[in-house]
Amino acid sequence: MPEGIKDKVAIIGMGCTRFGERWESSGGDLMVEAFTECIEDAGIEKKDIDTAYWGACFPMQGLSGLPLAQLLKLPFIGVTHVENYCATGTEALRAATYAVASGAADIALALGVEKLKDTGYGGLPAMGGMGGAEALLMPNSTAPGLFAMMATGYFSKYNIPPDQGKRVIGRVSWKSHQNGVKNPKAHLRREVTMEQIVNAPIVAWPLGLFDCCGVSDGSAAAIVVRAEEAKKFRPDPVYIKALQIAISSGEEQIYTDYDYAHVETGYRAGIRVYKEAGVKNPRKEISMAELHDCFSITETVTYEDLQFSPRGRAGEDIEAGFFDLEGDLPVQPDGGLKCFGHPIGASGLRMVYEMYKQLQGKAGPRQIKDPKLGLTHNMGGFPPGNVIAVCIVGQ
């Protein structure tokens, strides 16, 4: 095992736009908005930035380093565009982290953005361009449909009747709505009842409307420096304790023994991230988390993949309120993808933004008491083939 990134890099500034249907704003507007908050928070000037990494999953904002450089009028520095599905935002942070850790840069910017509401439809744009074989043999399904098959798999594996299963995963969304109400930057800000959740129209059986996250516009950004420099910028920097990415090798697609009831990459990334951070008992040591709840079933299996709950028993913790804001391990204190919204490329940095604010005691009505370690988790792709990014931050 390599030495890892623990305590080598610190975040000294962050920014995050309000997520939502930002009809009046272009992707560029959102990027400038996130960057402006970020650089003011860091207390640095634009000329201090040595290098920048920006990410968007879809090409609406353009490709290459040019869009960010020209929007922010960055002075001829190195700028790179990164993409890794829904882990794109965390990927930008990883690149910036490695840049300063290596000494190649002293101050690096990471920024993620997505402008999904300019497409004209509710879900995500098509992933590919001119199709290879995949367009010629893929089933007709959407992101909700692909994740719904994990709910079918989970219910089947653990013999949970679908009606009961829908209540378990519905409770996950109920909790996120409770939190989202408290967040002025969240996309969807209203409480919902369990009855509304389980009786909502089916999007892709067994997932209903409230099992699906918001499709949103938004941007988030971070400035990182080497850990030993961090206190020169502010008294309360947030340190990166671990940052791991895991990508499916393809075996989950090909073997008949993948159970569609967990995410293998999530489990493996979890093991690595805990080792890097020195976490022995995640259920006890992680103070709070932002997990990739693109769908309620994703958050449910992630509780188990990240060892917060034993296999097949996340439901017990969900029902007991273990992951509620007042629970032992609050998850999605900012509302999660479910309510804060999910502009793909921005989500990873948005999650870190909430952990950063919580660790600094600036989370307002959502403030968790005395958090030590915050975990963020992104999942891009689909249950049998995906990219996972997990990050742990602390003070």
Partner: protein, 484 residues
């Protein structure tokens, strides 16, 4: 001895009550129901399903020719028989041909196959038919046509019904037609059409055959010939030729409808299902002339393993009474566009390069660890089998071809997707495990959402995955369906 060595048929699952048309438009009520292709079926998929039924237990590598007869080919310039030959993984030197132009192309193709085998230039030729003709809304034709297909394998070994003779008549007449660009059947005033066409020419060919071979109506166990769109004209032909009503094969008007160039062969399959060794069958078909054949059933017919044929496909059905579904599936109406991403442009290169993977469902098996592999995982780029490296054992360049067609499969997981744009919502997607290993995701078709369960057995069915209007490409692939 040359003749039919195997047969098969296909009738789409759905039947629509003719009452649905009458309720919509009024006019003259026609009793019964007609078969109706699902939105993902066309003449090619129907002919392919018929051919699969016909080839059950037989080796496609031993077939020397595949002839596809239809008047509803999806292409004007582009062979469809080659799509089927590739799906069957037939030999490279197989003779392929699409035969089209008139409603008797099924028998014309059969005659050509017969001549080729008899002449010794082929040992075995598969002739398959499929039709999805349409009558214009509010007319009688949309009620009287049906969708279906049948196939026969001709050869000189294991003949179940020998072809002892044939007789043809050619007749120039534009009584009923579709010109280039016509979606719907056109017809001249029907008294003239039938009196000078069907009712005159078909008896001429049948009489000609009997005279040529010195046969009389009493020699035949069955007389099998197609019906025109006005089915009342059918029985009059046999009656006029002094056949007994009991000898006449039912034209399936009440339960299928007129399946055009496929009808005569479908009726022949139905007759063969009931035939006994020693039976003589008179088989004929009309369309700008007529073809007539004299068939002799042999004891070999008892050895042919059961086919679904006509009998099973007639029983396996789901009847609807919904004109809107018919309009939608046959793309007669322009519907509101789903608010979903546009169809990606088809790459003809990918279609060509992966033709065996797509049409033949060929995957790979690792020679080192034995893992069968085929990737059709939704949402992940790079569909088709893995390339060169086995993810199980990491062996490189140790794959051998492995065909998933014909393997039993069970549903491992599924969803009913309401967001996906489908003419038969919700879009049902299944992840299935094949017996012997291998997993892939496929659309499921012809299912009742309520019947879909984890663990249910499924079979693969050849369907049209999509039509790309920008490039004019029809893309065929396999879907799962509950076992029929």
């Amino acid at each position: 001895m040359v003749g039919i060595t195997s047969y098969g048929a296909y009738i789409p699952l759905h039947r629509i009550e003719r009452d649905a048309f009458y309720k919509e438009w009024g006019g003259m009520p026609i009793p019964g129901e007609r078969s109706m292709a699902t939105f993902d079926e066309d003449s090619v998929t129907i002919a392919m399903e018929s051919a699969i039924d016909c080839m059950k237990g037989l080796d496609p590598k031993k077939v020397d020719g595949l002839f596809f007869a239809t008047t509803t080919s999806p292409y004007k310039e582009k062979l469809c028989a080659s799509i089927m030959a590739t799906a069957f993984d037939m030999r490279r030197d197989v003779r392929t041909m699409d035969v089209t132009g008139t409603l008797r192309v099924g028998t014309t193709a059969m005659a050509a196959a017969f001549d080729a085998v008899k002449a010794g230039s082929a040992k075995s030729i598969l002739v398959t038919t499929g039709e999805t003709r349409m009558g214009a809304p509010a007319g009688d034709f949309e009620q009287s046509v049906g969708d279906g297909g049948a196939a026969v394998l001709l050869g000189d070994k294991g003949v179940i019904a020998s072809i002892e003779g044939s007789y043809s008549v050619s007749d120039e007449f534009s009584g009923q037609w579709r010109a280039d660009g016509d979606d719907f059947i056109r017809s001249w005033e029907d008294r003239m059409v039938y009196d000078q066409g069907y009712s005159a020419v078909l008896p001429e060919a049948i009489s000609g055959l009997m005279k040529k071979y010195n046969l009389s109506p009493g020699d035949f166990a069955k007389i099998v010939y197609d019906a025109p769109l006005d089915v009342r004209r059918h029985a009059r032909v046999a009656g006029g030729l002094k056949f007994d009503a009991a000898q006449v094969q039912d034209p399936m008007f009440m339960n299928v409808g007129n399946t055009g160039a496929a009808l005569a062969m479908m009726m022949l399959v139905a007759a063969l299902e009931e035939a006994k060794p020693g039976d003589k069958i008179l088989f004929a078909s009309y369309g700008n002339g007529a073809d007539a054949f004299y068939l002799q059933v042999t004891p070999e017919i008892k050895k042919l393993k059961a086919r679904r044929g006509i009998k099973h496909h007639l029983e396996s059905k789901k009847t609807i009474n919904n004109y809107g579904t018919y309009l939608r599936w046959r793309k007669i109406l322009t519907l509101e566009r789903a608010r979903r991403p546009e169809q990606a442009a088809t790459s003809i290169v990918a279609l060509w390069r992966d033709r065996r993977i797509i049409l033949g469902l060929w995957g790979v098996k690792c020679k080192v660890c034995g893992t069968p592999q085929y990737t059709a995982t939704p949402g992940i780029m790079g569909g088709g089998p893995p390339i060169r490296i086995c993810v199980n054992c990491q062996a490189k360049d140790q794959f051998e071809d492995y065909c998933f067609l014909g393997k039993k499969a069970k549903v491992f997981s599924f969803t009913h997707d309401n967001l996906a744009d489908s003419p038969d919502p919700p879009a049902t997607v299944t992840v299935v495990d094949f017996d012997g290993g291998g997993r892939a995701a496929f659309d499921m078709t012809d299912r009742d959402p309520d019947e879909v369960k984890v663990g249910m057995p499924v079979e693969m069915t050849f369907r049209k995955l999509y039509h790309d209007p920008a490039r004019g490409v029809h893309n065929y692939f396999w879907k799962t369906r509950p076992i029929r």
